[in-house]
């Protein structure tokens, strides 16, 4: 009796072992999680996709497909510097070369290298090989980065016609309209996306943000509340707290923010990336700091706002709030210094308004130097992301603009201190600036302008 039972157990264990070996070898156990990951990518649940793909890797000795899905997901999240490594692993695990090449091309497109690869992208749009939506999305994103917005809208419109059930084209077009200040049209697109996919969190978030910017707080609150079912929901919760503040429900907002601010910054950043946003600043610290100040808890606000300013010295909103908190705790001299710094930066940025008006008035002209000046002013006094945008708009018109390469080299070198993946860009712009110096002056110049 005992022998028979032992025998059965041994057979079971043997079966399990064989099954695991065979499944691992041929990737059977990865089939389902890979399929789930693929489905999650298609429905833009990118964090979910990553989770399933990572799981699939654990169940397979041959993780090529999982690595490929991870690379694609990272690309869609805008984490372009991580894409290459995963594609390499996918290639070494046997994923076909043309798929790898295609994904690399899409990553390039998404990074704004449109001009260089436009012909290849056009060819890919004709020969889609089942990747039509991916190509259109990356193509449109790349065009947006190069500020070729009308072309991007044209690509998105074609995408929507080809894939009428896909909410992503509506969402992407909404983002462009949003950026252009065409908020009615943006709202229409977000709502259209949500009609197609009611749980499309990026659209919920974008619509919530748009509504909140119009102080339509109650509906915005509803949108952000719906976003809270996301795996990484810090961004949704931060914005939910902003809505609650707007409705005078400060205590509820305070409770949420105190929870969020305890999360690692990387988690908060991931939550924003998952809704297509990349905050440059410490949003949670800023929100909690200003709320504490508004409730006259200036001492509690102070360290939060100081942290936000230390993180991004160009964050004028945080610096202003810091000055208010300093004033609130009686540090009037320090407060006056901070107020003055804010004032100086604001005064400097006034030139931007005039320049942008002039650029917009003659969009058909390149206006290289004005664009450069706008970028420079933002780099010194305002949003560096906006500065990067304007400087790239210079390079789109004059790829050899020496001063722009120099400024971007400095910018990326600064970023590389926190994230070494920016080293490559820093070096690239440094060498381009140096090359241009050599070409124009006839001798090399070590430091960027």
């Amino acid at each position: 009796m005992q022998n028979s039972r032992n025998k059965r157990i041994a057979v079971n264990l043997l079966l399990v072992g064989l099954l695991l070996l065979a499944g691992g070898k041929w990737g059977w156990f990865a089939l389902i999680p890979n399929w789930m990951a693929q489905k999650a990518v298609e429905s833009r649940r990118l964090e979910t996709a990553l989770w399933w793909a990572q799981l699939a890797k654990r169940f397979s000795f041959n993780p090529g497909e999982s690595e490929f899905i991870i690379a694609r997901t990272l690309r869609k999240q805008g984490r372009l510097d991580e894409v290459g490594e995963h594609l390499k692993r996918a290639a070494s695990s046997g994923v076909q070369k043309d798929r790898i090449d295609r994904e690399e091309l899409l990553a390039l497109a998404q990074s704004g290298e449109i001009t260089r690869i436009q012909l290849q992208l056009d060819r890919m749009l004709i020969d889609q090989q089942g990747d039509g939506a991916e190509i259109a999305e990356a193509y449109a994103n790349g065009l947006v980065i190069c500020h070729r917005l009308e072309e991007a809208i044209a690509v998105l419109t074609a995408w929507q016609e080809a894939y009428p059930a896909d909410p992503q084209a509506n969402y992407a077009r909404g983002r462009i309209y949003d950026h252009q200040g065409r908020s009615d049209e943006a709202e229409r697109e977000y709502r259209a996306a949500l009609k197609k996919a009611p749980t499309h969190h990026a659209s919920q978030f974008a619509l919530g943000r748009l509504l909140l910017s119009r102080n339509m707080t109650e509906e915005a609150l509803e949108m952000f509340t719906r976003c809270e079912s996301m795996p990484h929901n810090a961004a949704a919760r931060i914005n939910r707290s902003r809505c609650l503040r707007g409705l005078g429900r400060s205590e509820e907002a305070l409770k949420i923010l105190k929870e969020v601010v305890r999360q690692p910054q990387s988690e908060i950043l991931t939550s924003y990336q998952s809704v297509g946003e990349v905050p440059e600043t410490l949003v949670a610290q800023f929100e909690l700091g200003t709320l504490e100040s508004a409730l006259e808890h200036h001492a509690e606000a102070l360290p939060l706002l100081q942290e936000a300013v230390d993180f991004d010295p160009n964050d004028l909103k945080a610096r202003y709030a810091l000055a208010v908190a300093l004033r609130g705790v009686g540090q009037r001299a320090k407060a006056a210094e901070e107020f003055e710094r804010v004032q100086k930066s604001r005064d400097a940025l006034k030139e931007v308004d005039r320049l942008v008006d002039e650029i917009v008035a003659k969009l058909s002209d390149a206006q290289i130097e004005k664009r450069y000046r706008v970028g420079e002013l933002y780099m010194m006094h305002g949003s560096r992301k906006t500065a990067e945008f304007w400087l790239k708009s210079v390079l789109a018109r004059d790829p050899k603009h020496k001063a722009t390469h120099g400024l971007l080299a400095q910018y990326y070198a600064e970023k590389a201190k926190q994230n070494p993946s920016f080293d490559r860009l820093a070096q690239q712009h440094t060498s381009l600036a140096a090359a241009e110096t050599q070409r124009t002056d006839g001798h090399p110049e070590a430091s960027p302008p």
Binding site: R8, G246, L247, A294
Partner: protein, 599 residues
């Protein structure tokens, strides 16, 4: 061969694996339960059922501000619109109403003024007689320039309120001669200012007992500098203010003999700014007048006064120059009130669309913090372009509510139409605001292209009425007909009550601008100030109306005169207007209208 037990084990294993995939290890935690959304967070049982009716036509008030839009010059000059002035020019106890007329453009691009209108309130024991237009008779109708705003006060301390008119190209000073007529004497008085002026405010800045004058200037527009700007879709539209440079405001100090001197340098005014709203009040409670200027798209100014008329601009440091994100807004109208009942005056500013109207809460010593979100103000939405605004206890429940006149500035707004709904914000408790509940036939339920706004008890029934100037449509005289017993669950006799005080200075300026009153009730104190300027291009009545909520008992009041000492009023009567003369000489009671038609 696998025996049945082994097969069962395998099946169990597969089932385990299946469960693992399907439920046991989901990547996402289940979402937190959605909180129930109390959309207003309000104690709706306590909301007032406001009732307001535009009675302009039946009262004989027919005034339309014209901006010359029909000439299609797309001039930013057209955007500002006109104000309204409420003051009792003939001292008969009834508020009279003045409207600047605006202007027009000729085909040869010259700019002309349109006649102002002035309506005498014929009330005498009863309000039913309405108004009669006396602009020409009184000598205030002529406007040699394109007019915008007005400010009334007794600049020469002769007991009769005088009138200042602002606009594009000059000022007009109408001295009240006490016989029902006015004499224009801006040149003789030294009010020489040919810049584009918007709002103005009177107040004694250097403590000499005579009123000084602050005049806000807008931008450097002219037909020689009238760029072409386009709206979405390429259609031409009015240019935004950032297409122009701001003009430095001007301040005139009284010489004490009815004349003025340009004291812009003497006082220390800051250059630039695109001034639209002016308020003169004591924001740091040091018994001198400070000045707040609402600037369009640039930082608002707060001039703190050292008492001698030397001003220091501290807007940014004191937290009232910008919004909660440190950004300057397109500010237009301004008002001051103690919204949260802490005895400190808070500042209220109306702003451009997609910005939040600003409630700057006073934290003491003239320090403010932007508290629009915490006070529920942001929840009203941000598509309003707010202009005239004023604070008053419209439901007589013991705290100050807010009225805002809205209307767009461009021909082709990117969202909605140029006409917008006026807003009434009800102060629920301690500075927590919600948009008021109003019936569909109310004035507040109809969109207008509104600009100037002023509050005053037009019909002398104890509650505060609203007068609004519109652009290219007739002005509204909006009577407050809010039933007083619905604001509480108390029976009619126990409803809300009121006290109205008119302050007359003897040592300080006669208009008592800068004086503060603390009303004492069994439910706490209420604080109000007589301020100069305020709202947008407009002059509100300077009488102070306090609401006394049902169940509270009035125990007295203290008047804090700018020149001191404080005056204690022990025997005020509710539901009466009282004239309080500085130094406690006389406290004359004037019965309220017996025929107010109130429930």
């Amino acid at each position: 061969m696998i025996d049945s037990a082994a097969a069962r084990s395998f099946a169990c294993w597969l089932a385990f694996l299946g469960c693992f995939y399907c439920s046991g290890c989901r990547p996402a935690a289940s979402p937190p339960a959605a909180q129930s959304l109390d959309s207003t967070g309000s104690n709706s049982g306590q909301r007032t059922q406001f009732q307001f009716r535009d009675a302009a036509t039946e009262l004989g008030v027919s005034a339309t501000y014209r901006n010359g839009r029909e000439s299609e010059n797309y001039a930013i000059l057209e955007s500002l619109g006109g104000g309204v002035g409420l003051f009792d020019y003939d001292l008969d106890g009834w508020i009279d109403v003045f409207f600047p007329g605006g202007g027009a453009f000729t085909p040869s691009k010259t700019i002309e003024g349109r006649m102002s209108t002035f309506f005498r309130n014929q009330g005498s024991g009863s309000f039913k007689s309405g108004f009669v237009e006396i602009g020409t008779l009184a000598g205030v109708a002529e406007a040699p320039f394109y007019s915008h705003g007005c400010a009334a006060a007794d600049f020469n301390n002769d007991g009769f309120p005088d009138l200042l008119l602002t606009g594009y190209g000059g000022l007009q000073l109408f001295k009240n001669q006490g016989d029902g007529t006015f004499q224009e004497l801006h040149t003789a008085a030294g009010l020489l200012d040919d810049a584009w002026s918007s709002s103005a405010g009177w107040g004694d800045l250097n403590g000499d007992g005579c009123l000084d004058l602050y005049v806000a200037h807008y931008v450097n527009w002219s037909f020689e500098h009238n760029p072409v700007c386009n709206a979405e879709g390429g259609r031409r539209d009015v240019c935004p203010p950032r297409a122009f440079d701001g003009l430095t405001d001007i301040i005139f100090y009284s010489n004490g003999d009815g004349t003025f001197r340009d004291a812009t340098r003497e006082a220390g005014l800051k250059p630039g700014g695109k001034g639209l709203g002016v308020l003169m009040a004591d924001v740091d409670l040091d018994r001198d007048l400070d000045i707040y200027v609402a600037n369009d798209t640039t930082e608002n100014f707060l001039y703190l006064n050292d008492g001698s008329g030397r001003l220091e601009e501290t807007g940014l440091q004191n937290g009232v120059a910008v919004d909660q994100e440190g950004m300057p807004n397109g500010s237009m109208g301004v008002s001051i009130a103690d919204f949260d009942g802490d005895g400190l005056p808070d500042i209220w500013v109306t702003n451009f669309e997609k910005e939040t109207f600003a409630l700057y809460r006073n934290e003491g010593h003239g320090q403010f913090i932007h508290a629009s979100r915490e006070s529920g103000v942001t929840a009203i939405g941000s598509l309003f372009v707010g202009f005239g605004t004023a604070a008053g206890d419209l439901d007589l429940d013991g705290d100050e509510d807010i009225v805002v006149a809205n209307g767009h500035v461009v021909y082709f707004p990117s969202q909605g139409t140029d006409r917008q709904l006026p807003i009434l914000l009800e102060n629920l408790t301690k500075g927590q605001f919600r948009r008021a509940l109003l019936p569909p036939d109310s004035y507040f339920s109809t969109p207008h292209l509104a600009r100037g706004l002023a509050l005053g008890d037009i019909d002398n029934d104890g509650d505060v009425d609203v007068v609004v100037a519109h652009t290219n449509e007739p002005a509204a005289v909006v009577l407050n007909e809010t039933p007083r017993n619905l604001a509480s669950s108390q029976p009619l006799a126990e409803g809300n009550h009121w006290v109205s005080l008119q302050l007359v200075g003897t040592r300080c300026n006669r208009s008592a601008i800068g004086a503060r009153v603390v009303l004492h009730t069994t439910r706490g104190d209420q604080t109000r100030q007589v301020s100069g300027g305020g709202s947008y291009l407009s002059q509100g009545d300077t009488r102070i109306v306090f609401g006394i909520p049902a169940g509270a008992t009035l125990t007295g009041a203290t008047v804090v005169w700018p020149t001191g000492p404080d005056q204690v009023l022990g025997d005020l009567q509710v539901d009466h207007m009282t004239v309080v003369i500085e130094q406690g000489l006389i406290a004359t009671r004037v019965a309220a209208s017996a025929d107010s038609g109130k429930p």
